[in-house]
Structure formats: C-alpha cells, structure tokens
Amino acid sequence: MARREMLWGYAFIAPWLVGLLAFTAGPLVAVFYWSFTDYPMLSAPTWVGLDNYRRIFTDDDKFLLSLVNTAWYVGVRVPLHLGLAFVFALLLHRGLRGIGLLRTAIYLPSMLPIVALAVVWRILLDPRIGYVNYFTGLIGLPPVNWLTSEVWIKPVIVGISLWHVGVPMVVFLAGLGSIPDQLYEAASIDGAGRWRQLLHVTIPMLTPAILYNVIIDVINSFQVFAYAFVMTNGGPNDASLFYVLYIYRHAFELFQMGYASALSAILFVIILIFTVVLLKVARPWVQYERV
C-alpha cells in the first residue's frame, strides 16, 4: 500500500521531474562539462581541462570588473528594493475601501517585461529629448547624461529595477496577514506604541518572509542582464558591464561557449555560497511561529 502510494506520488510529480531534468539539471551538467572545453558552437567541443578557468583568473581583467559591477548592483539594489517593498506592504496592509485597487496598481509594473521597461526608459532618459531631464530642468537642475555617464549609469539601472517592487511586496503582505492579532493586542496592553510594535512584533514575525525575499532578490540581482543589454550594451566604458552580460558576450558575440560556461559555473558557485551563508547566518534571527 505504501509502495503504491509512493508510485502514485512519483507519477504526479513526474511532469515536474522531467522538466527539472530536461530544462535545469541537464543544461547544468552540460554547462559544467563545456566549461572544461573549447567550444566554438559550430564545431564539437574539444577538451582543454582547466584552461578556461586559468584564463579567467589570470588573464581576464574584465572578469573582476564585471563581478565588481554586479556586486555593487546587488549591494545597493537589494536593500532598496526590499525596503521599498516592505514600506508599501505596511501601507497597503489595511482594511480600507479600494485597497485592492491600490495593491493592484502597485503590483502592475511587476508584470511589465523588463525589455519593454528598458526600451521605454532609454527614451525617457535621453539627455536631449527625454522627459527625465525635462522635469529636472523645470526645477532648475542641469541636464544629466544618464546613460552615457559612468557615474550615473549604475544608479539609474538600480532605480529602474525598483519598478518591480510588487513581487516582494506581495510576499510581505502575505507575511503580515499571517501575524496573529493577539500579539499586537498584547503589545498594546503592555503600552507599546506603533513604532515599538513594528520593531518588536511585526519585523520579528516577518523574518521568514524577509529571509525568503533576501535570498530570492540576491539570486535575481546577481543575474541582472536585460537593462544593460538593451540600454547600454555594457557601456559607457564597461560601467554597466554586469557579469551575466559578460557571459552572454562570450557565448553569443565571441562564440566561445566553453569560456562562457566556465564563467557561468563560477557564478553558480558564488550564488550557492551566498545562499548557504545567508541560510546559516539567518538561523539566530529568523523566528518561525510555533503552533
């Protein structure tokens, strides 16, 4: 009976399992294999051992540059993105009339394809005809070359990416909804005001959602690609050359799939390390509700 149930279980997850093997595990194994080959895409891969990795760590100055650019983006974007999502969630966690509409309105930008967003912002940020400089000009600020300035390009990309605040906001909203009211009542009886309730009830109870959002956001932020690809192609002067764009360049512009695979494998390891460290570091401060 138990064996039968197990078989039925496997049968039900089989489609997902096939998808995992075909579209995730299979390509992952292929990437790791190719990372040890010279693979110009139109000919068969040739085994070169650790040569790709040696070149990356000893000959490739853009490897470090792209990693630094990406680390900057992750370090700045994740706190801003999640901070904004948290603030929106707090503001929208009310039983007001029409709140559903507001939540939808704030979530809607998250539905926009990143490429479409990037194309529109490229026009808005044009130094000569874009609306951003037009409106900043109205308040007396000088025009800025947003997309051709090495100083401004990364902050601009971070700013644009904040449009997708809806997804973590929804996770926070779900977390807020699961906090028992009795905790707030008890805190209120003990004389805690709104601010202290936020610090000592809301945030601790929301820590699992915070941890989840941090991990997902870090993983996604490490893979930033479309904004730089559409708007600047990594410029100006490689200021927006992010790691995944660098991988793409090697794979599909230089047709060096072996080298690109080695870069991808390194990114996989970096993200894995970050995730494991985050999970370990989270143990003391994440509070899971005990029923």
Partner: protein, 457 residues
Amino acid sequence: MRHRRSVKTFVLVATLAVASSVVAAPAAAQGSRGVVIKEAGRDYLAHPDVKGTVQFSNCWGGARIPLVQQWIKDFTAVYRNVKVENDVSDCPSLDKKQVTAMAAGSPPNVMMVKSGNLAFFAEQNTLLPVDDLMQRDRVKADWFYPGEFRSRTWQGKTYGLPNVTAGAQHMLFVNTNLLERVGWPAGKPIQTWQDLEALVEPAKKQGLFVMDPVKSSAGIPSHFVLTYANGGRYWTDDLTRITWNEPAGVEAAEWLLKFVKAQGGKYENLALGSNRKELAYPEEWAAEKHVATFNGSWFPFMMKSKAPQIRYAVYPFPRNAARAESKGHTASTGAWMFAIPKTAKDQDAAWEWIKFIAASQHACSFVKAQNRPSPMAQCNEDPELTKTNAFWPVVTRDLSTNVAVPTAPVHPRMVQLWYEMEDAFLFERMSPKEALDTFAKRGQALLDEWNAKRKTR
C-alpha cells in the same frame, strides 16, 4: 507468332522514340534541367520546378519589409512549389540567432551573413560552397565587382552571393540648416578632419555639437575607419601582422580623442545615442543637436521615412589634411551575402531564392529602391540613379576607393578587442599610443594562434 512479336517490338520502339523526342525537345531548349533566363546580357539557368520552403533569415526590417515582400511575390509567381518564410531580426543580433540555430541543428536555409564573419563560418565547415551550383546554372563571378565577389570567398571557395556593396558605408551627412546657423560658407564642402575641427567653436556658440565621431560604423569601431582614411591599415593582407599601432593608427586615435574633448570635454557629453556600437538612427540625428553624422548609403532611405523634414548634404569620408598619405579611403570588413548552411533542408529551393535576389534583375530593383549601390556593376549603370539621388557621385566615388579588409575566423574576438582598445583611450585609461600598443600585442597573439593552427592542418 513472329509477326505478333515484331509488331510488339515496333510499338515498343515507337513508343520509346516518341517518348524520348518529347523529353529531348524541351531538354534541348532548356539545357541541363533548367529554364534559360536572359537578362541584359546575363544568361543563366533557373529551375522553377523545385519544391520546398525557403526560410529567409535576414535583417531587412523597417522600410525594407515591403521590398522583401515584393521579392517574395515575384519569386513565388515563378516558383509555384516554393514557399518563402521571411524571418526578420535586427541586424546586431542576426548572427547570434543564426549561430544558435545552426548549433541546434535547425538552421534557416538562406542566411544573410556579413562577409566579415564568413571565415568564422567557413572554417568550421558549416556553409555550402556554391561554386558547382554557379557553374551548373551559369552564374558568373564577373557579373560582380571583383573585390565584392572576392570577399564572399574563403580559401578558394565561394560561399554565397553578394547583395549590397561593402562600399559607401561611411559617408558624411551634414545638416545644411545647422551648417548655415554656425556660419559655414554656403556651398563649401567639408572634406578634412581639420574642417570638422574648425566647426567646433562656432557650433558651441549655437549650443550644438559638430558630430559624434565614435559612431562612424556599425559593428566596427570608429578608430578602424579613421585609420584607413588616414592611410594606415589594421593588419597586413596576409593576416599575419597587426599594424594598427603604426603612426597612421596612432594619429587617428589621437585625433579622435582630441576632437571628442574639444567638443564636449568627454565622450558622454556628446554621445548621439547610448549604444556606440550602433550607427545613429534618423530620429536621433533629427533632434538637431549634431551638425553632422557618419552613416552609410542606406541612410537617406531611412531619413526619407523617419525624418523627411531634415535637409542635408552628403560628402565623402573626410581625410586628414596633415598627412599626405591620407586620402579618406574607407575600409570595410565586408557587407551582406546570402549563404546556405550545409545542414539545411531544401537546398535546391534555397539556391533558387539566392539566385533570384542576388543575381537577377530583382537584385537591382531592391538596391535601387534603397538608393544603395549594387555589387553587380550593371545595376549601378542605371541613369535613373543619378537623377533621383543627388549624392550618387559620392557613393560611386566611395565604391571605387573602398578598401576591402580580409578577415580571419577570429574576427568576432578581434572586433571585441577593437572596442576595448577604443574604450581604453577614449575614456583615458591609457594614452592612445599605449592603448594601441597594448592591444596590438593581444591582437597579434590571436592572429599567431590562428596562423599556427592553419599551418598544422
């Protein structure tokens, strides 16, 4: 019995005779399984009975789509058993899409390929040589300009037919309204780098830039074009030695940096559009902040549809008046050609399509509609071209002086290196001489690596 056998034999022989005469007559008229097409002194064979589907991978988008659709209409009127699927991509991503499709084993059967990338494809044995097909169907190499045809061959084999020319890709377009505003004498052409420099201060007074000199070519950096215009070369014709760090190249880099800084202090202040690997779009230039721009013979066709209100003049690529060897000759690593991947299906139909769009009179009408020069000399002799295009003499001048630069299979990696080199001195991480020397070593290493592999084969 004997009689019956002889009648049977006669009927059999007679039937065979009639049948063979029915077959022989059209065969005698058609040559070897084809129909003779006679076009203005070019006789070749077509095979309208082929069947199949043509997947035409190209980047003739925007205003060119109706032209391609006319091609398809005219082709399918003759080739009734062939279907043509027009697969349009944007030009910068076309080769990526094609390489991915080839690697996946399902390539389109007609690919629009930049001849600069031909070596990359041909050396990996992925394209079908068409010499035998050309001979069978009497398509001759001498219908095309020699330089144009040669750039579509690799190691003695032909891999496709040229469509548009490699020449006339770098011409100087000048907004005549703005030129008047900055006080340039009416009718005086802009011919030299020094003329462009002379415009800087007058343009600044009007709140304008002269031009974004970094955008002078699509897919290759500006320094490449400037070096050849300055009388230099990027490498030797036998592809063994890098020469971009010789005096002509260093001078070109120094001038480029000086001209950028004179206009706006740094490049970000005068950039026309955010992606410097693309040429200026008509809409960008039509914002009328830059007096001039570099662009190719296709640009007027695009301007007509996107920014018809702009009045402009066209001049040849300027030369450096301070160097005697500088003639303003432009260089190109190639232009478009149509090729057939070796693993593609319906190759017969694919070849018929390529002949139709690259070797027949339909090739002429396509380039004529775009006011672009054709690689077939005959197409460019149409007197209508000079009547409808005031700048046609500039185009033909560029064609006659254009330098076709041979490329190696490491071309994609070499182009990447060029952009990094230009970045290095444009953003002043290194001096121009230092940048050219540093990257010359890396370029030489790439060439040496490829030449070594060549010798061991």
